[in-house]
């Protein structure tokens, strides 16, 4: 009688998720869910199947859909979102985080085939945005949003972020590009004009030489005063705070280089160092740009407000109308539907409601509330819609204050390695320059200024300044290739110091996609399956949802006559006259059966035992290896919001003596991190959701693991694609080794400096020597760091 239903595994034609053959099909193609199938059907009806030929499985999984767009019926909201409107034509730029490949671009730019009301649509890939012109007499914004949602490209609306968000970053990026362009232009020309000097052609007519030198001086002006201006600003700021960052010696070098060169040209004593000066700025800017590239597509700073709804349904007269959340007042009656967030503290006026507080407390199971109870903001309605009377308007309510709690704000920043080195570097250089100037003042006063400036010029830490950005840039590149994205390069520094790693359980080390459910017992008939689905549909318990997903049958045929759910035990339903009982062995009256280790749901139909659904949380692929690798250098800990059902399984996975704590609230996790930090530990935390946000932020490095990089981003230091999990060990060790590369390259650049300074102090530094040495040191450091990182990554199989 024992039989497991086995189906052949395949991947969904639309989204590429794992699924089984023969369950949901269309045109002999398999889909993981009806949502994906629907998208396919919409596309094939409109002859848009090219979508599937451009990339393999380009679609977005349709399993977790919740979006509702009726707030777009509110004219005020629509008006604030539109970029252009003349009553007939409207234009809007939508943020669509799901845009991820060329198929997406193709489909979104052919929206006019799906709906003739759309006149024109254009994708901005790096910003994940879609600009749509449409005829508002034919299609409303709401219809447009719903249409996009139907094909999997759910637009994200957010009033607050509308203006600022991307534009600041864009502005910065554009400015950097222009600065780089100008520096590059001047660099090329200065090099060209310096050729006679390089080649030592002195027989040239004197006039030319003077002309060339002055031209060089003119070309250096925009580089120093525009392209390199940031370095002066930064150096000035850091001096005001009484410490010397790396920009101080750079700025000092630039000033001295420029002044000395102008002096040489004006006094006709030499050709100056304009080529080194301009080249230095150019290379530095390239390094900066290289670092910036990696972050483009990611928006890390989407705070909790982006989880807030834009609008809720408020009772106006006798109807519920969408109202902007900020306009809600005490006493308003609002209607919240399934999966919507409760935006303000309020009192429930319906008989009962199930509220999912997983965002706030980490509790996985919805809480039942009844009429008249005070409901805190931040919960999500699970199941039936419910009505509330608002008690406290949005801005003051619980969620806001929770996330504004101290510690949810940022931690102290430690001094970067490069800045620590540059502290001593600057002092040493200035000291050497002064000492040798004093020495020459007594031996040969004519050489004093020459030596003083030569030392400062040749010591200009161009190579030193390049070593960190290029090493980090290459590391970020490797990490990005494997879908681990760091917020900025400083995170690398923090990562290298980590000694304690904390894991969250659900969704972090378990794989939410690969939940294994099997049914043990005689196979259910289609009719029986529908009965069971009808019964579990009324329940909000996660296990009920799994069973429903697993059976995947149509429940509508049956009438539910009675339904009772006993918390923690099971459900008893009468469906079309048939009694269906699901739950623990005890609950269904089969005490004789052994209780399974994993979560199990036993089933009886009309009092007859039919079998058991076994739900196993599957741990992520390669979890054991990752834990072994990480435990070598770090102390591991596990903090879970769930109960300790899986303690035994986890004890086997983690090294002996690993601290494990269960039933932890977000606040407990945060306090735990704080306590560790107080004891001098540097903590890295892996978490998955908003309920970890506080702890993620508090820890020295907070990493959010997500199934879908583009759509999820609570405040954290790094975002990691779940698929990268198995490579975590190698990736982290690459980051650690990055430090060795930086130190080695710093050693190389210091060697150049020591060599150069020796010549400078002796007073025999020729402009030609400087002209060769300075770019050579920069280039060799760039080549060294890039090659070393690549080599190490390759050795680790990354």
């Amino acid at each position: 009688m024992r039989e497991t239903i086995e189906k052949q595994q395949t991947t969904c034609y639309h989204c590429g998720d794992e699924c089984y053959t023969g369950q949901i099909t269309a045109d002999e193609k398999d889909f993981c869910c009806t949502g994906c199938k629907t998208v396919y059907e919409i596309l094939s009806e409109n002859e848009l199947c090219d979508y599937y030929t451009l990339e393999q499985n380009p679609g977005i999984t349709q399993k977790n859909k919740t979006a509702l767009f009726d707030f777009l019926d509110n004219e005020e909201i629509v008006r604030s979102l539109l970029e252009f409107s003349d009553g007939k034509h409207e234009r809007i730029t939508l943020s669509i985080p799901n845009i991820h490949c060329s198929s997406c671009i193709w489909l979104l730019e052919h929206l006019d085939r799906l709906n003739p009301g759309v006149l024109d649509s254009k994708v901005n890939f790096s910003q994940r945005r879609l600009t749509v012109h449409y005829n508002c007499q034919e299609i409303s914004l709401r219809q447009l949003a719903e249409g996009l949602d139907r094909i999997g490209y759910t637009p994200v609306f957010n009033l607050e972020k509308k203006e600022e968000s991307n534009s600041v970053y864009q502005q910065f990026d554009k400015q950097l590009l222009i600065k780089m362009g100008i520096a590059g232009f001047c660099f090329g020309n200065v090099m060209l004009l310096s050729f006679p000097d390089y080649l030592g052609i002195t027989s040239l007519e004197y006039n030319y030489q003077v002309f060339f030198r002055w031209l060089n001086a003119v070309l250096a002006l925009p580089v120093v005063f525009y392209s390199g201006w940031d370095y002066f600003v930064s150096a000035f700021k850091s001096i005001r705070q009484k410490y010397a960052n790396i920009d101080v010696p750079i700025a000092l070098g630039l000033v001295v280089l420029f002044l000395r060169s102008v002096y040489e040209v004006a006094s006709k004593t030499g050709s100056g160092y304009f080529d080194s000066l301009v080249g230095l700025v150019f290379f530095l800017l390239i390094g900066k740009w290289f670092q910036n590239r990696t972050y483009q597509a990611l928006s890390f700073d989407r705070d909790y407000k982006s989880y807030f709804p834009l609008a809720v349904l408020k009772l106006v007269g006798k109807e519920y109308k969408p109202i902007i959340v900020n306009d809600l007042e005490k006493g308003d009656e609002m209607l919240i539907r399934n999966a919507e967030l409760i935006p303000a503290d309020s009192i429930l006026i319906d008989d009962q409601a199930f509220i999912d507080y997983s965002f706030v407390t980490g509790e996985a199971e919805p809480v039942q509330k009844s009429k008249g109870q005070y409901i805190y903001a931040g919960g999500r309605i699970a199941g039936k819609q419910a009505r509330f009377i608002i008690q406290r308007p949005v801005s003051q309510s619980y969620l806001t204050s929770l996330w504004n709690e101290e510690g949810y704000e940022r931690k102290e920043k430690s001094l970067k390695l490069i800045d620590r080195v540059s502290q001593y570097f600057t002092i040493a250089i200035v000291a050497i320059a002064i000492v040798s100037a004093v020495y020459w003042q007594f031996t040969d006063p004519s050489k004093t200024w020459l030596v003083f400036t030569s030392v400062l010029i040749i010591a200009c830490p161009c190579a030193l300044a390049l070593s960190t950005p290029f090493t980090q840039g290459s590391i970020l590149r490797v990490l990005g290739k494997h879908h681990l994205f760091l917020k900025n390069a400083d995170v690398i520094d923090d990562l290298q110091k980590v000694d304690t790693i904390i894991f969250d359980k659900t969704g972090t080390i378990t794989d939410p996609k690969a939940k294994q459910i099997e049914f043990e017992g005689e196979e259910l008939t289609a009719a029986e399956a529908s009965l069971v689905v009808a019964a579990v549909s009324s329940s909000t318990h996660p296990l009920s949802r799994y069973v429903k997903e697993f059976l995947n049958a149509e429940p509508d045929v049956y009438q539910i006559e009675s339904f009772e759910e006993v918390t923690g035990k099971g459900i008893l339903a009468v469906v079309s006259g048939v009694e269906v009982k699901l739950g623990s062995a005890k609950f269904i009256g089969m005490e004789s059966l052994e209780e399974a280790k994993s979560s199990a749901v036993y089933l009886t139909i009309s009092g007859k035992y039919r079998g058991v659904f076994k739900v196993n949380n599957t741990y992520r692929n390669g979890l054991k290896e990752v834990i072994e690798e990480l435990s070598l250098a770090n102390e591991l800990k596990l903090l879970s919001g769930d109960n300790d059902q899986e303690r035994a399984a986890l004890t086997e996975l983690f090294p002996k003596g690993t601290e494990m704590q269960f039933e932890q609230k977000p606040d407990d996790k945060l306090k735990k991190v704080q306590a560790l930090q107080k004891n001098g530990h540097r903590v890295m935390m892996f978490g998955d959701g908003l309920n970890d946000a506080g702890a993620l932020k508090q820890s020295n490095v907070g990493v959010a693991i997500t199934e879908d990089i583009s759509s999820f981003s609570p405040a954290c230091d790094a975002i990691m694609d779940a698929n990268a999990f198995k490579k975590l060990g190698s990736l982290l060790s690459l980051i650690t080794e990055g430090k060795t590369v930086v130190i080695a390259s710093m050693a190389i650049s210091l060697m150049y400096n020591v060599g150069g300074i020796t010549f400078a102090v002796l007073g025999i530094l020729t402009p030609l020597f400087a002209a060769v040495l300075m770019p050579l040191s920069s280039i060799s450091v760039v080549a060294f760091t890039t090659a070393m990182v690549r080599l190490r990554a390759k050795r680790k199989g990354l």
């Binding site: 090219d50 730019e109 006149l119 024109d120 890939f125 790096s126 590009l177 222009i178 090329g188």
Partner: protein, 61 residues
């Protein structure tokens, strides 16, 4: 002799024109999104019925 000066000045002016072109390209947003244009050009004929309305609004906006 002065021909070299003329040449250098000319070459720098030409280079400045290109620099200006680069500046214009950055300002007008051509570097905002470096991925989609490269894909877009490979799509087959973009619009079946490019209606006049579409052209009209593009100008207006």
């Amino acid at each position: 002799m002065s021909v070299i000066l003329v040449l250098i000045v000319t070459s720098i002016i030409v280079a400045i024109v290109f620099l200006g072109a680069f500046y214009w390209a950055v300002r007008s947003g051509q570097y905002d999104d470096t991925y989609s244009p490269s894909v877009r050009m490979l799509f087959e004929e973009k619009k079946k019925k490019k209606n006049e309305e579409g052209a009209g609004i593009a100008e207006k906006v």
